[in-house]
């Protein structure tokens, strides 16, 4: 399983019209009524596959912690005014079920697409399904995205999201294109595992070699309980958004280490571990 391409776009909150401007030169679709969330997702997906050839049956996995935020609040405001008319696209956008459809149209693909979420582990869960399906379903290529809008403008937003370090909440759209070809790849996914507790994780960490470590916010919180060399920990960029682990992984892989790992924990100290090997060394 080889990572062929990566793309990450993380910015302080931008407007829907700014994303439309970004997409204008890249995408001929009529995106007039679509949500900011969808625009971010399409922008990320298109840039990831820019100048690459891929199959029409490309499977697309979209992870999100918060879902479609700005349209949700707009719809809640409309619903509160009982006499207001809810427009069809407002309703469709809120459920995020149409994101994969628009991405598939933008990429001209007809493979399956799926939206996945999970508290603190949305990207990890999407990756888990993709990783499994890649191995067992004869899927030669997959596109996995992690998309979340900034919630910075929501009053007391840190009380409704998990933001342990009070980081600035940004817009983020981070993507990996993965196939079974070693040629021209960035890195190989050596393994991807889940552990129900830190004891199991630490046992596994003793068995593998790695040169650089990325940690999610909970892994940083419980760092003292991880049996790792603290000097190998990569300092995270200022890139906090809902599914930031995807952009952390991209940053980690951009460091070009022979072997690297990324550890995601949640509040219950359950763990996902990504293990990568740089392709130049394969």
């Amino acid at each position: 399983m080889y990572i062929q391409s990566m793309f990450s776009y993380i910015k302080e909150r931008q407007s829907t019209s700014q994303y439309k401007q970004l997409l204008k030169p890249l995408c001929a679709l009529n995106l007039r009524r679509t949500s900011k969330f969808n625009l971010m997702a399409i922008y990320g997906a298109i840039n990831t596959l820019n100048r690459l050839s891929y199959g029409k049956e490309l499977s697309i996995y979209i992870a999100s912690e918060y879902g479609c935020v700005e349209d949700l609040f707009e719809v809640l405001r409309q619903i509160k005014e009982e006499e207001s008319i809810l427009m069809p696209f407002d309703f469709l956008n809120v459920n995020t079920n149409n994101t994969g459809f628009f991405i598939a149209q933008a990429l001209d693909t007809n493979g399956n697409n799926i939206n996945v979420s999970s508290e603190n582990f949305s990207f990890e869960k999407a990756f888990e399904l993709a990783y499994f399906n890649f191995q067992t379903q004869n899927k030669n290529e997959i596109l996995i995205g992690a998309v979340d809008e900034s919630v910075e403008e929501i009053p007391n937003h840190n009380s409704i999201i998990n933001n342990l370090e009070n980081a600035t909440s940004k817009d983020g759209s981070s993507w990996l294109y993965i196939n079974n070809k070693k040629e021209n790849s960035i890195a190989k996914v050596k393994s991807f595992n889940f552990f129900t507790n830190l004891k199991e994780l630490n046992q596994y960490l003793k068995e593998i070699a790695y040169g650089k470590i990325g940690l999610n916010q909970y892994a940083r919180k419980y760092q003292s309980e991880l049996e790792i060399d603290k000097d190998l920990i990569l300092k995270n960029e200022d890139n906090f958004y809902g599914t930031y682990s995807a952009s952390d992984i991209i940053d980690l892989l951009n460091q070009q280490n022979k072997l690297s790992i990324y550890i995601s924990l949640d509040s219950k100290k359950r763990a996902y571990l990504f293990w990568f090997e740089e392709s130049d060394t394969l």
């Binding site: 309703f91 459920n95 499994f132």
Partner: protein, 377 residues
């Protein structure tokens, strides 16, 4: 070596009743004559199939229904406390907890959480699960896809046992959204696959399934196969030619090494909206013509409404339980078929104890899922 996958426990709370036994008994009782009375009992100010229990708040309703559905399914599967902890949780819904967010925002202009992770959290804590939940949103195929993803993990021995929950609760966003799309039936009666069908009627419901690699009872249904396709015709409608729906059904049959003659019936999606109806009847008609063979077509939405993302697990529970109670349910309120097709849905209930069923689900955003369940040896 691949494992087999069985449904060893289930539950449902819907417009028919708050337990699966009650729901199946109610299906037996409903007929074309008393159907208008059944609808009148169900519909209050708007045409919507409601869960019949009083709750003070949407939040209370949401978590009470979820909790009771899950615990009923776990009891049905006779799981020990330890076995329940080892369940991997998969959730499927279109609107998730928007009903709660509407209520909160209506009262205070604020919401207490973003995203839907708190739903998974609630369930994990309820059963003391060791594993983080997987939440899937693919519109009306959500819970069907949750089931198929979990089943594949069991089949390849990645997990031993799973809890699948499909849920959909009344919320103004969804109701008014479908109104604005002009998809709701103005006359308020479901006419599935009927030439004069004038739209769909929404419903709420929650159902839970326990999947296991070992069956517990001889009547347990086994998942023989599944296939998912993507139709890029339109966000809200299927390609009228029905080709991808046909393809999806054929792939599911192929993967199960079955032909049409092995099926007891097809459980159609049959939303009631014109485009969706036409596309699906065309697909089923094409399937019958291509293989010169027919099978019964069963439609359940007149009983519980269109429960969107939850319709996967809801309709699987209702039909499988009906079979376990020795009958294949008739389709209600059908009068006239489309001119372009040669079949009608099942109009009289049939007595039988075992069945092999192709379940068909189609969602906004192009998702199509076909899966085959059987309790025949």
């Amino acid at each position: 070596m691949k494992k087999r996958v069985f449904i060893t426990g289930s539950s449902i709370i819907c417009a028919l009743g708050n337990h699966k036994e009650t729901s199946v008994e109610k299906i037996k009782q409903i007929n074309n004559e008393n159907y208008p009375h059944y609808l009148k009992e169900n519909f209050e100010k708007i045409n919507f199939y409601r869960i019949k229990k009083f709750f003070t708040t949407q939040e209370e309703k949401f978590y009470w229904v979820l909790k009771n559905s899950i615990l009923d399914a776990i009891n049905d599967a006779k799981l020990t406390e330890q076995e329940a902890k080892e369940l991997h949780v998969f959730l499927g819904s279109t609107s998730m907890s928007i009903s709660i967010k509407e209520e909160e925002f209506g009262e205070s202009n604020k919401i207490s959480s973003l995203g839907y992770g708190e739903i998974g959290n609630f369930i994990e804590e309820l059963i003391a699960s060791n594993y983080p939940s997987t939440i899937i949103q693919t519109a009306c195929t959500s819970s069907a896809n949750a089931l198929t993803q979990a089943a594949e993990l069991i089949k390849y021995n990645k997990i031993k046992r799973a809890l699948i929950v499909g849920f959909e609760f009344f919320n103004h966003t969804t109701y008014r959204g479908f109104q604005s799309l002009l998809l709701l039936s103005p006359t308020g009666t479901y006419k599935p696959f009927d030439k004069n069908s004038d739209g769909l009627i929404l419903g709420e419901g929650c159902s839970s399934l326990i999947l296991d690699s070992e069956k517990k009872e001889t009547s347990d249904f086994e998942l023989l196969s599944s296939h998912t396709c993507f139709d890029n015709f339109s966000v809200t409608s299927s390609n009228p030619n029905g080709e991808l729906t046909l393809f999806c059904m054929e792939k599911a049959l192929d993967k199960a090494n079955l032909s049409l003659k092995n099926l007891t019936c097809i459980k159609a999606h049959a939303t009631g909206s014109e485009n969706s109806n036409l596309s699906e009847v065309t697909a089923i008609n094409s399937l019958f013509k291509k293989y010169n063979q027919k099978t019964d077509v069963v439609i359940l939405k007149p009983y519980i409404g269109h429960t969107l993302g939850a319709c996967g697990t809801n309709e699987i529970v209702l039909l499988c339980e009906s079979i376990k109670h020795n009958f294949l349910p008739k389709t209600i309120n059908f009068k006239e078929k489309y001119d372009s097709v040669d079949f009608t849905p099942l109009l009289e209930s049939k007595m039988l104890k075992k069945a092999t069923i192709l379940f068909q689900f189609i969602g906004f955003g192009g998702s199509i899922t076909s899966l085959i369940l059987s309790n025949e040896s």
